[in-house]
């Protein structure tokens, strides 16, 4: 007669295993679907589907690239700074307020963030722009990255702070040189999560970038000023093209999905490889 505890253990392991498979299957299904449909679309229409603005999605790709850089520049440094501040000075009033505000921002439907930027920026400037979209995306990113940075910092055991102080480090040296250094993997992961979340968003872009799908943002002679032009983004393009009746639009949406997924994977893998885990 087998030991009932061992039988229970077996049942437990089989259940966990089965549920895990069940959980990851849809993910692989979606990935496979995107890869297959995306490559079919590119094979059928040629690379022109990516490199043309009239019969392709070039404007969306360019727009997404600009948005991701701009939103990251605006959102990530601020989020890291705020996360460090809130974790380090957690009993100050400002930190407590910042924490509540960031947690609330996390719950705000992202379409409202788009509306907000529409009201405070698009209307006064009289034009949609990539910059407006980037600000909306930065607002999406901000609380996510902040919360992750905060948690990464708080998870560093206090013995390392003590070590820093006991050799005469200042508070800034301990925070930046020791604590943030130990938490670097957690911080990098948080930044990636926020980045991915923002870059997959459609809603904040609806009222901000103008979905300029057939022109590139290049009306200004100073290159940087072109961020004030309207533009497009891949998720927005997918969202709108998927609703069109013609097959050609669907193919462009699939091609865009493939590029989006590939870009995400590239960024993720690069960051994971560059930022090494710190074992404690």
């Amino acid at each position: 007669m087998a030991d009932p505890r061992i039988i229970k253990e077996k049942i437990f392991l089989v259940t966990i295993f089965a549920l895990t498979i069940l959980g990851i299957l849809p993910v692989f299904h979606v990935l496979a679907e995107v890869i297959i449909k995306g490559s079919e679309a590119i094979a059928k229409h040629g690379l022109g589907i990516l490199t043309s603005t009239s019969n392709g999605i070039l404007a969306s790709l360019v727009g997404s690239a600009i948005l991701s850089i701009l939103a990251s520049l605006l959102g990530i440094p601020l989020a890291i700074a705020a996360g460090l501040f809130v974790a380090e000075f957690s009993d100050t009033k400002l930190a407590k307020i910042t924490r509540v505000v960031s947690r609330s921002l996390l719950e705000v439907p992202t379409v409202l963030l788009g509306m907000l930027v529409y009201i405070i920026m698009v209307v006064p400037m009289g034009s949609f722009s990539l910059l407006a979209g980037a600000i909306a995306l930065a607002l999406v990113m901000l609380p996510y990255v902040m919360v992750h940075v905060e948690q990464a910092i708080e998870s560093v055991p206090p013995i390392y702070r003590e070590a820093g102080y006991s050799i005469g480090m200042t508070r800034a040296e301990v925070l930046l040189g020791v604590v943030a250094g130990i938490a670097r993997r957690g911080i990098a992961t948080g930044v990636l999560m926020g980045f991915a979340k923002a870059m997959g968003e459609t809603a904040p872009l609806l009222f901000t970038i103008g979905a300029a799908r057939t022109t590139l943002p290049c009306s200004h002679s100073i290159p940087l000023a072109n961020v004030l032009d309207p533009g497009d983004a891949v998720p927005l393009m997918i969202f709108q093209y998927a609703q069109m009746p013609q097959k050609m639009y669907h193919d462009m949406a699939w091609a865009g999905s493939l590029i989006l997924v590939a870009a995400f994977l590239a960024v993720f893998i690069a960051v994971r490889l560059l930022v090494k885990e710190v074992k404690t």
């Binding site: 055991p157 003590e162 006991s166 005469g168």
Partner: protein
Amino acid sequence: MERDAVRTENLNVWIHGKHVLKNINFRAAVSAITVIMGPSGSGKSTLLRSINRLIEIVPGTKVEGKVYIFGRDIYSDDPYRVRRYVTMVSQTPNPFPHMSIYENVAIGPKLHRLVRSKEELDKIVRWALEKAMLWDEVKDRLNDPPTRLSGGQQQRLCLARALALKPRILLLDEPTANIDPVNARKIEEAIKMLVKEEGITVIFVTHTPAQAVRVADFIAFIYNGELVEYGPAREIALNPRHRLTEMYLRGEIG
């Protein structure tokens, strides 16, 4: 010239309202090992951490009274400056896990600009590792992370990190509590040599009477936040004046 490297005057410490140190008048002689001995929770770590003002990094602490180091009142000085010449090794080995073995030792001299060139830095790192009796074990793997070292080696690395600043006073909070006896003896040896060769003043916290007797020149016995007895190690060990000290040495309390 002060004979005492460290002297406290009616030192009182409260942590979250709890009176942890009561009117402590403690001394540590220059170039000697003073052991702070006492049962768990008696306030040994708190006393040690009052001497380098590390106590202040915990919110909710209140310190009253004076701490003089070579005659200077440190509570009217900059805490970061104090910790530059009064360094500490904690109870749990805590080498910086994101730095290499070399960087762990080099970080102090680099931050405090004690060196001008890479050669000087290399020299100081080697000196500190030798003094901590770790050099031979790590000289071929200076770029490894410290997490690849054993607990005892990690603790000696922490000792080297504290020594690299060439401190005048070294605070040790049960540095051998979490490591094996062989490593513990190595640390004890290293510390005795440091006092003899470099003239460093050492304050050593322990809760084991046997270790206290092995390393101490002077012993301070703390019980329940009060300094019960203080004197030369032999006197305290052979004829303690106070009944509590005697009981503690016999292992009846603690």
